[in-house]
Symmetry: C2
Subunit: 450 residues, 2 copies
Amino acid sequence: MPLPTRLPGQVDDPDIKATYAADQSIAAPPVGDFTLVRARDLADVVEVLTEAQAHGTPIVPQGARSGRAGGAVAIEGGIVLNVMGLAGVIDLDEVEGIAVCGPGTVTADLKAAAAGQGLFYPPDPASVAYCSVGGNVATNAGGLCCVKYGVTADHVRGLQVVLAGGEVVRTGRRTAKGVAGLDLTGLFVGSEGTLGVVTEVVVALQPAPAAALTALATFDSLDAASRGIVALRRDPHRPSMAELLDAFSIAAVQRLGDYGFPADCAAVLLVQSDRAGHTTQDVQRYAELLAAAGATEVAVADDAAEAEALMAGRRVVSTALEGYGARMVEDVCVPVRRLTELIERCRAVCRTRGVEVAFSGHAGDGNLHPSLFFDAADPVSRERAEAAFGDIVDLALAMGGTITGEHGVGSLKAPWLVRELGESEIRRQQRVKAVFDPAGILNPGRVYPP
Amino acid sequence: MPLPTRLPGQVDDPDIKATYAADQSIAAPPVGDFTLVRARDLADVVEVLTEAQAHGTPIVPQGARSGRAGGAVAIEGGIVLNVMGLAGVIDLDEVEGIAVCGPGTVTADLKAAAAGQGLFYPPDPASVAYCSVGGNVATNAGGLCCVKYGVTADHVRGLQVVLAGGEVVRTGRRTAKGVAGLDLTGLFVGSEGTLGVVTEVVVALQPAPAAALTALATFDSLDAASRGIVALRRDPHRPSMAELLDAFSIAAVQRLGDYGFPADCAAVLLVQSDRAGHTTQDVQRYAELLAAAGATEVAVADDAAEAEALMAGRRVVSTALEGYGARMVEDVCVPVRRLTELIERCRAVCRTRGVEVAFSGHAGDGNLHPSLFFDAADPVSRERAEAAFGDIVDLALAMGGTITGEHGVGSLKAPWLVRELGESEIRRQQRVKAVFDPAGILNPGRVYPP
């Protein structure tokens, strides 16, 4: 049934609408039309969700469109409800150690606001400079910090959410502790817009760590890199970052500019410590551990500029790989000690399927992002990449892992969810969803297969 | 409808049954009979939940019976399903940084198992020596560590749960990250046995901290103590403990033995640092901050024995207060900077009601445990204490706080839940409960009023 009225914040310009139709995944925007709303405030969100429920219109909650899983792509005949207009840090209390912000706040801006008070909001997806806190909440985003600081869910204390039909609810707490009733916060975090539209986020902040020091270890075999990762996990002071890049990713980064990465190696590990008073000592110890594990070379960044160049290199991996054509970005996560085994087995899959692949990932967490390249103009090439994508998901499950570590299920991985959770669990989760969204208008077809 | 068969693990000895009828709260055990099952394994739990669902028999999931909110007290005609038999650390993987244990594992035993591998499971309720991990999960227990390390929910990665009807489900993950589908782990943690019976807990472990060093600050006014708490919250290295005891609690502790606490003061703050390489430096700095805030004396425990005596004193507060008669233990939590204002206002309430009161609590979190004393043989005395209990809950809500920081709602606070959450939210949570427990057999009347 068509919506009878113009919605608040609705935008009709077709060029603008086109930019809001898709995210950073390969999920295709709809062929037909959709309605775009750029909400300006809570009232807009309430009105849109009230109208949408009344008319059974699908809603796609949307943030910065930096998603990798197709969770925020427009649905034909539906409403894209973009909440980037609900931006900004509303409150920051350094005694209570909390910040309250709108979902459209760019993650880097929240981190900067915290840093301005000597505090720290740890989550740092690679897209930190442009992704949104609301999107991070929707996918329970991770990033580079997780090996020490955990994922977004570990730092969200409460939410304001608008449900289908327009009811505004609060979850969680602002106090340091609170156990009155069920904690629905954890249910909403990672629910990918299927339960409600987040309109305010309360996060916990912690004291700021020291400026990080970085080491770069070069390996001529994945086995040696794997031994290095295990050695780091056993250290009494866990690194604040432990990232892996394979030769393909390194070459791609270095093609963009000299970020200080070596040529002719199997992989590098990029490792940091941010422990106040101990960064030099930690990184030196990590260097020794990695050398003992079989690194051919370990370089410690002597100064902030050198460390920043390496980090900048890590952050441009995604951009660098875009130079090689269309790609599907995988996001499986396995037990940490099996990460390089996963890489070897992915390589075998890609050889069999005839697909070019680059590996990078959060080695300290066992969270890998294989990039599978294909020719967007060649359906056979795309099919091969999709087949390899599916094989890798199956591999991860067989290795005790998950189909998605931090990007979410979205539309791309919905067909695989049942393999991880089973039919009974999916039915149960859909019954939970029905409590919050009885008409099923919130992001239908995402996470759970249509 | 009566159960037709004997249940596995059923115990009929009336003396044994009597010890399983109640917890550590003042909630009364049932007048009539109930069935006691001491489950020995998962199969027992499955069978009991299958039979209970078939016959509509209420189930009270139960652990170490150390609860303070009456959440695990027997229900007349129901089944007490005690899971202390499902004890022990099943797996501890120092590379992945996880442990898997049964719900009947005593929290101190899990902590010791982690420490044996150089790792750390932070949660430490004051009852750590005898409470269970399953009970901690049920109430989302806190403790002394929370000012730095957060609550139980922050350390639980996944669960195995048996639902009403006997279905065994797994939630969460074993990998460092994982976002496939809704995270039901956070929903079960703190659900106080209303959604299912936890039969296995996967916790995240972190590298062990240093042995803590302790400082004791004496204050002759609550205002000064409050300034001290705020100063600690602003320090760049948050203490691993910040506990407050009032004069009454101190005198009670010292009556048991000389634990090193001062006489003639308004309150003390007991503060620790466990930061490797910096405990001396941190505690010295805390001492200076507290002196500047107005502490009349600050003593740093010079050695482990002195520190241990102070900690032992903190841990016996509850036992010490039992010497003063029957008591109701409050558990409200307010913004940290309002803690001593809460104490003043509680005192006024108790003066008006004619109730004797002692205060201790987790000052660094704004989580207070007023003990309200009454004469168990005098109904009027008990009514006065109950009235003060209610007044304090109302006070906390009016101050932006919560009715329960860490003990749970249980049966004692169920009447107040609606004041914190509202009718609409309670109805929604009951619909969520119905997804997992459609017949409503799991801990009926607890958390949500009958």
